[in-house]
Symmetry: C2
Subunit: 144 residues, 2 copies
DNA sequence: CTTATATTATTAGCGTACGAATATTCAGCG
DNA sequence: CGCTGAATATTCGTACGCTAATAATATAAG
């Protein structure tokens, strides 16, 4: 029993990596990454969102979201269009290819989530999710 | 309520990122990263471990650990020495500077962990840790 | 002994993630 | 109107974290 076995930060990062890897193993046949799947999912709910809004929804900063959208645009999954009256903002839209991919990827991600939770009861799962949300809020000073 | 709010993978990754950022904000004055702190911690318990062993303990693959140790060696925190009979293996040792830094960093990391858990009971914390470990084992096929 | 296989570490290449700095555009205020 | 400051997206530089491929050494089989 060393110091890391009791470190929430370490165990959290390790669990997150293991899930990301499992998801990417399944997504790789569609040539997208776990992060790109997350962006597809966000765009299903907010097609045409600005880069900033996407970053806020997903909790990525602007340089990160710019790079991800660059690669997704290169691969034909999304396109950038200036649509808002404000000429600073660039809106991101799913292409037909992106829409189709979002659907298959969503099913894969749900399967991985179910698998990760397979030894827990619904109550345990919802408590776990509450804890993850609380940690996130705590670390961002959204309570006290 | 969108699909991501119920996605364990997304919430796990988000919580992990928020803790990593909080930790790095405090570690930055010592010019080390959260990952480098983890390696320092592992070396406190296993000074002289091989690169492979370090990777196994921390659950990083070899290319990742090579790069991290490269940067830590550049910064004078560790040094590589061939010590084992097997000439393929390279052992990693803490320098005095690395040892000193490990101690201060450890205190900082403990404070962050306590802060992240501040709204939970000891039981809730230990249940949370169990869940993280179970997810990790599940995603790595270490049970069924 | 020699050939085949496995292990250890590294390199190369890609995709996040982040902080810092920059260019463009917008909004407010005198 | 003109100026200041804020907001949006990008670029730059750094550090992970992964897969695939490589080089060097060790081990096993014949």
């Amino acid at each position: 029993m060393n110091a890391l076995d009791g470190s929430v930060g370490f165990l959290l990062a390790r669990a997150a990596r293991s899930m990301k890897r499992a998801l990417e193993a399944r997504l790789s046949e569609h040539n997208i990454t776990a992060t790109q799947y997350i962006v597809l999912e966000a765009l299903r709910e907010h097609d045409g969102a600005s880069l900033s809004l996407l970053g806020q929804k997903l909790y990525f900063d602007n340089p990160t979201i710019t790079g991800i959208v660059d690669r997704m645009e290169r691969d034909g999954l999304v396109e950038r269009r200036r649509v808002a009256g404000d000429r600073r903002v660039i809106n991101v839209f799913l292409t037909p290819k992106g829409k189709a991919l979002a659907q298959s990827a969503s099913a894969i991600a749900e399967a991985i989530n179910r698998d990760a939770m397979r030894s827990f009861s619904p109550q345990q799962e919802s408590e776990f999710i509450n804890t993850l949300n609380t940690i996130w809020r705590t670390m961002n000073g959204k309570e006290d």
